[in-house]
């Protein structure tokens, strides 16, 4: 049996008096590619931030690679949305990728090892030739791949993506998926997305977050059903299960 990369037990979290996540039990095995979906305000991003150690759960436990999220945070490669970055910030592509190595030392210049792993990561995402280009001069898809390289350069074992398909065209999306499935051979990948179309096409299971959390293997999903249901802007995961504003409800067919 594969070891678990993420194990969450009886976890809950609230912002002030507003309960965001309750009774979360989740186990994700190593080298899986998992999508996290759910309606806006359902708690996807909160769950991600909890797993990154940026927020503390009110109850229950979160284990990432058998460690607490804070301990494991340097084994997680986080890929935020590329549009959040200041387009005027003066950095080259290589500068950005090297930032993945910055937590490895207390200060001083980057070592040869740091440079090598940054260059390797750039190779992995096909941006080696662009390494001296200004980050600001890249296309959206290239910026995203730069951020993936930054996460890879830290020799992460897990990759967390926040809305990878937001502001990326369909060509870049296809390239992104090819890259992800290549990386998935060695890494566990978690994709937070409202774009269920992208997620359900590619991942092995889907986690539906709407205050509580349910996990579904994609093999149980009928592709056409998902298309139909999500096309109507409803966050429904399985033909007998819905992830609605009121929380999970089970329909009896």
């Amino acid at each position: 049996m594969k070891k678990s990369a993420i194990e969450i037990k009886d976890m809950c979290f609230s912002y002030g008096s507003h309960l965001v996540l309750a009774d979360v039990n989740l186990r994700i095995k190593e080298k899986e590619m998992v999508g996290i979906v759910g309606p806006n305000g359902g708690g996807k991003t909160t769950l991600l931030r909890l797993m990154l150690g940026l927020l503390q759960p009110d109850c229950g436990t979160i284990k990432i690679l058998d460690q607490t999220p804070e301990q494991a945070s340097n084994r997680i490669g986080y890929v935020p949305q590329h549009r959040l970055f200041d387009p005027l910030f003066p950095v080259s592509v290589l500068d950005v990728v090297l930032m993945g190595r910055v937590g490895k030392s207390w200060g001083g210049p980057f070592s040869k090892k740091d440079r090598d792993s940054a260059l390797n990561a750039l190779n992995d995402v096909d941006l080696y030739d662009k390494r001296f280009t200004a980050f600001a001069d890249l296309s959206g898809g290239q910026r995203q791949r730069t951020l993936i390289a930054r996460a890879l350069s830290s020799s992460a074992e897990l990759l967390f993506f926040d809305e990878p398909t937001a502001n990326v065209d369909s060509f870049a999306e296809r390239k992104l998926y090819e890259l992800l499935s290549r990386l998935n051979k060695d890494l566990t990948i978690l994709i937070v997305s409202h774009d269920v179309g992208f997620v359900s096409k590619y991942v092995s299971s889907v986690v539906c977050v709407n205050r509580s959390v349910l996990i579904h293997p994609t093999s149980e999903l009928d592709g056409q059903t998902i298309q139909d249901i999500y096309g109507k802007d409803l966050s429904i995961i399985h033909h007998d299960h819905r992830c609605s504003e009121k929380g999970h409800t089970w329909l009896n067919f």
């Binding site: 340097n74 080259s92 930032m99 910055v102 200004a134």
Partner: protein, 279 residues
């Protein structure tokens, strides 16, 4: 201009002024680049204006009670306190940040004005604090400016990678294990020290100009942070020496001339870039 160059060889006050411009350009270019890319001009402005409080109190103690302190030391204390307060509020406070900054900005000034009005003698010092008086820089001031330069350059050389990571993406830096709070505080304290340097050169009111204009112009010329710092240092140098030289013969206020010079450099760079892009 000829007279400036001739007098520069003879008068020590002019040599001190010239050196003050050169030395402060180093910190100004480096820290100005951080202020510009982090978009925290407003924080720099609040710290700058707050220094008047420290200067006023220390000058009061010096003149009225003969304490062995100088207004410049008061500025150092006030700016560091302001930086510390801002860091604490950012970390723990639930207040609106701009409200807190405005409070520090104006209360600091008010305290300064109160103490200056209750200090005997002429109050012309107030004008030199607000608008700078580079020609009054003493040997001791120069030593202090040099020392602050060494501290700032040293810190930035050691922690350049950490600081750029925090400025570019705080959250990612934190996840990677960088002590983000520490480096934020460090940056604020360095801004505070640089503000004190620049208060000597251009005065409280115009500090923000020197922290943004050269760095922003540099940002239009080069595309990496340390390149930006080097170019910003050169542009600062150009502005301080150019402004000082131009102001000398017609007896213009040096601080204002320096700031106008920096402004012209900034608009020239932008205009040149626009023309180049259009061509």
């Amino acid at each position: 201009m000829v007279e400036f160059l001739k007098d520069l060889q003879t008068y020590s006050f002019l040599q001190y002024a010239f050196l003050a411009g050169v030395l402060s350009s180093i910190s100004c270019g480096i820290i100005g680049s951080y202020v510009t890319v982090r978009r925290i001009t407003y924080i720099a402005g609040a710290i700058a204006h707050c220094t008047l409080g420290g200067m006023g109190i220390f000058r009061f103690l010096q003149k009225e009670y003969a304490f062995p302190v100088t207004p410049l030391q008061g500025a150092v204390v006030a700016s560091l306190l302001a930086a510390l307060t801002i860091a604490l509020v950012k970390r723990y406070g639930s207040q609106r940040e701009d409200t807190v900054l405005s409070a520090i900005w104006s209360i600091g000034m008010a305290i300064g004005i109160l103490f200056i009005s209750k200090t005997g003698g002429y109050n012309e010092d107030l004008m030199s604090y607000l608008f700078g008086d580079i020609l009054m820089v003493s040997r001791a001031d120069l030593m202090l400016i040099g020392l602050l330069d060494i501290i700032i350059v040293g810190i930035v050389l050691i922690f350049y990678n950490q600081l750029i990571a925090v400025c570019f993406d705080e959250e990612f830096a934190k996840i990677s294990g960088v002590k983000v709070e520490f480096f934020e505080l460090l940056l604020l304290l360095m801004i505070a020290l640089t503000v004190v340097l620049l208060v000597q050169v251009v005065g409280i009111v115009m500090v923000v100009a020197m922290l943004t204009l050269p760095a922003a112009a540099a940002g239009h010329i080069v595309k990496r942070l340390w390149h930006m710092m080097v170019v910003a240092i050169l542009l600062c140098l150009l502005s301080t020496t150019g402004g000082l030289a131009l102001s000398y013969q017609p007896d213009f206020p040096a601080g204002a001339t320096i700031v106008i010079f920096a402004g012209l450099v900034y608009f020239f760079v932008i205009g040149f870039k626009k023309l180049k892009n259009a061509a």
